[in-house]
Symmetry: C2
Subunit: 176 residues, 2 copies
DNA sequence: GTAGATTTGTACGTATGTATA
DNA sequence: CTATACATACGTACAAATCTA
């Protein structure tokens, strides 16, 4: 029995808006309204609001009382802090993995990370995805699911600036 | 110009529901509906839903598709993981504070922590609050606001189980 | 298995505060 | 300064899925 997701529409809008931010179809600082978004995605304002408020709580968007929404501008101090915390969490994860007897769990990660130059993937977008998965997988293996969750959220927040540094990775951002 | 809060009603309901959880007026595992909560707080379902979904994202509540809400049951593995991560974050914070030249910023914390037995506060509820503030203040002083935010959220999630261990602290939970 | 009651999910209408001509 | 347009915050109505007798 596959239980239904809780807010299918709102969930979908959430993912689409977030991707629009990551792919710079919504630019940092850009302003917009709930009605615009509702028309853009072909739904009512209700699921849009759910999605927008969730993205606001996660730091991707900003809203002013009865005065419209905006994409959170790039804040490099913020990114510094996020990178800094990522180091803290990953260091703690690695320390725990070092004290672990069974290293076989590291195998799948090693296979990706130690890929020979022949089998190495060249698409920057995919490389970036593999890199994210590697970091996330490392922390997951340490066994603390809360640390893994925070680390995953944190990695997502950094994603936008990582893409800025690999411009070729999203050269096809207008494909969709 | 003091800018208005964004969703005054929803914000208020959010705080009240959270306190109801902390003070065990809403018990772990207890089920309820949006309509009940709307009547309980004298508002419509809209701000209630905003508040409930926020608390769900933060792990305090659970919702099943068209089938009602429930307070997240106590999960001691979860609390172990949260305590564990708290140690990681506070250790990192302390390491940074140790490398810091200027220790004068620690003064206010020391004054609370090193209170003489005479001036020591005896109300367990207040002691608990001071303890939380001490831990939070410590991490804040380390200067990474994101780490401080995560640590603060994490401390809130632990609060309910801390109160379980200090039952006398909320003996008057029916006062209100 | 089915019908009815229940509950959320979404759409839509109204009120209130904001910005601007 | 005032009035008007506009955007969100909240309330309400309805649809769809779930539970239960």
């Amino acid at each position: 029995m596959a239980r239904s997701p809780t807010n299918p529409l709102a969930e979908d809008i959430y993912a689409r808006v977030k991707d629009d931010i990551f792919d710079f179809r919504l630019l940092p600082g850009q302003r917009f309204t709930e009605t615009e978004m509702a028309q853009r995605y072909g739904v009512s304002r209700t699921p849009v609001r759910d999605a927008l408020y969730r993205l606001k709580r996660e730091g991707f968007l900003d809203v002013a009382f009865r005065s419209g929404w905006s994409v959170q501008p790039l804040d490099f101090e913020l990114f510094d802090e996020l990178y800094d915390m990522r180091i803290v969490l990953e260091t703690a994860a690695i320390e725990r993995l070092c004290h672990c007897e069974d290293v076989s769990a590291l195998e799948p990660l090693a296979r990706v990370w130690l890929a020979g130059s022949a089998e190495r993937c060249r698409d920057p977008r995919e490389v970036s995805g593999l890199d994210e998965a590697f970091h996330i997988g490392l922390v997951e293996l340490a066994g603390n699911r809360q640390m893994a969750r925070v680390h995953r959220e944190l990695t997502e927040k950094i994603r936008v600036v990582r893409r800025l540094r690999f411009p070729e990775a999203f050269a096809h951002r207008n494909d969709l």
